[in-house]
Symmetry: C2
Subunit: 358 residues, 2 copies
């Protein structure tokens, strides 16, 4: 296998000390040590998410917990605001579970604007809204504060936010924003291996859960919470203890860096990448809504991205082609997790050399 | 944290070399390396499962894939044969997904007999049967060959078998038995950390999937298979690459030991434990149906299992109390995965000393 420095929007690079924690020997998942582990993670995740809500871990990708969220929260009808592939997924998750849902899909490159959310919610048809905070397929970070202001006007809405590729890279103040279920994944800005999803759950969401049936088993968030509460932070199924060992340790590393420092590091990398992209190509999305964790670059020079990646591979680096239909029209460079400004200088310098950009 | 030699029915001990593979650096999950990894695992799992069917990996516990299996396979009505907590779980999985299902529950300690299966199937009401091959809550291994003979008479039945705590410890010849979906988990006899579930899927099961709707997303086995086939052994969501690295390596270790040697090692440990249990206590279940991977021992001496475990803990060993209602009435000693006869001598010797058995 070839190991490269990953500038793809997940899995991201994992620090060697964190990787080493993945190799921790096993303990019983019904032990006091297991309870303590989950309790420590809960307390640290609350700080990272700026919430006093419940914290749920799921041995799955983020998609699984998104499925659980929309299935548990929708009593009436869900409104999905999509700006790309991962927004579309919310609608598929609803559809494949027989949940009533509508979707408003922006054309690629455009964010979800608060006014759009307001327009739909004013109809009074919906009790759930889903938003993708950071859409990696187009490199957009949605204006979450503005959207939060709109949603605040509708007290019956349970608000689900996909923060899979933003949390721990950008500041997401869950309680202040009023996010009811905030979902993230281990393999993005948290910089852990893939295999674990996490969510915060508000009181309002918990109350909603009581009114919804036919929610399945593995992703039944209501029952997960009940089990955690009753069994001293344990899970009904055996969780991925390896990921939990690594997460516990990584959350300490994040605290040591300092949350604000971490967010500033991500902003600096993003600002550098946006400037670089606009100098040689063009950032794909509407200006002002660029993602702080991944830059999606319009392929204005019509370069062969696969060839570029092959050349970067010789230097042990890897970037990402465009997603889906945008495969050749864009390419993406992630700047999250463990990466820093030196890495961004390295990858952009290499691209400048390979493509002979000036 | 305290690390002990685990004689609990999962998570089991993981070999240090396998643990080390959990710390493999990340690769892109859309890379050729990722495809190759999954392809290698598929070929090796087919040998271990004695099948030419499809192999599906799921980043979840076994419960998740069991949920997917019963949800994908049941077009009409499922018949659940339960002999304990994990058999009951099949029925809950059906119920919580609005799937029509009946359950026949043996009293604790009794196996599912082929004649019982025949009685229900002869009614012609069912198109799915679930069997727990090895029920850890009571320490029973069901007579799978006899049940297979019965099920063979009913060509419309899609047969789901929970081999979570038996596969890789006992011989399960999937194709010969006619199992349509055989499910296992990483943290039992496979001796990997928890966090990955695996299943084999027969042609008949695949055909059934085409007739069933409302099957969700994350555990939609039909779509998982389509994605694997179309995208050269990749997954729609990011899988737990760490577990896949470790599994790939562990399957080589298992092949090196030799499948038959491995099964014999498990039989020898089981026979020793059964004899030991009957000498000092009594094996909990009907004689002749004892599990080959975990012995459930009736607490005929009314010992305090928690105290025993505390004493064993001082010697860095851990056994398991009884499950659920059987908590104090039984205790369990697992003998699967990496454990061998020396380990069984060690743990039983320690118990004899602690309890002053003679």
């Amino acid at each position: 296998m070839e190991f490269k420095k990953l500038f793809i929007p997940g899995p991201t690079m994992v620090h060697p000390d964190v990787l080493a924690k993945m190799a921790t020997p096993m303990i019983g998942h019904r032990s006091k040590d297991a309870s303590d582990l989950q309790r420590r993670i809960t307390e640290k995740m609350r700080k990272l998410m700026f919430t006093s809500g419940k914290i749920v871990l799921s041995t799955s990708s983020g998609t699984g917990l998104m499925e659980g969220a929309i299935r548990n929260a929708t009593a009436k009808r869900a409104m999905v605001f999509s700006i790309g592939a991962f927004g579309d997924r919310w609608h598929e998750l609803a559809k494949f579970n027989g949940i009533e849902a509508d979707i408003h899909r922006e054309t690629d490159g455009h964010p979800t604007m608060p006014a759009t959310v307001d327009k739909y919610l004013s109809m009074g048809k919906y009790d759930v809204v889903t938003i993708t905070h950071n859409e990696t397929s187009v490199g957009i970070m949605n204006p979450i504060e503005g959207i939060a202001e709109v949603i605040r006007k509708y007290p019956d809405i349970v608000w689900l936010v996909d923060c899979v590729s933003s949390l721990a890279g950008a500041k997401v103040e869950v309680d202040k924003l009023g996010i009811d279920i905030c979902i993230t994944s281990s393999q993005k800005a948290l910089a852990l291996p893939p295999g674990l999803a996490l969510a915060s759950v508000s009181k309002k969401a918990e109350e909603r859960f009581e009114k919804v049936g036919n929610v399945g088993y593995y992703f039944d968030i209501k029952n997960l919470i009940k089990y955690i509460d009753k069994k001293d932070h344990q899970y009904s199924s055996t969780p991925s203890l390896s990921h939990m060992f690594a997460l516990d340790f990584q959350l300490d590393r994040i605290e040591k860096e300092g949350l604000e420092n971490r967010f500033i590091r991500h902003i600096e990398m993003a600002e550098f990448m946006i400037e670089w992209a606009n100098k040689y190509f063009k950032v794909f999305c509407t200006p002002g809504f660029e993602s702080m964790t991944v830059t999606c670059i319009a392929n204005t020079r019509n370069i062969n991205v696969a060839d570029l990646n092959k050349e970067l591979g010789k230097l042990k680096m890897q970037i990402s082609n465009g997603y889906g239909d945008l495969k050749d029209k864009t390419f993406r460079i992630a700047h999250m997790g463990e990466l820093n400004m030196d890495d961004m200088l390295e990858v952009t310098g290499a691209i400048e050399d390979i493509l002979k950009l000036k």
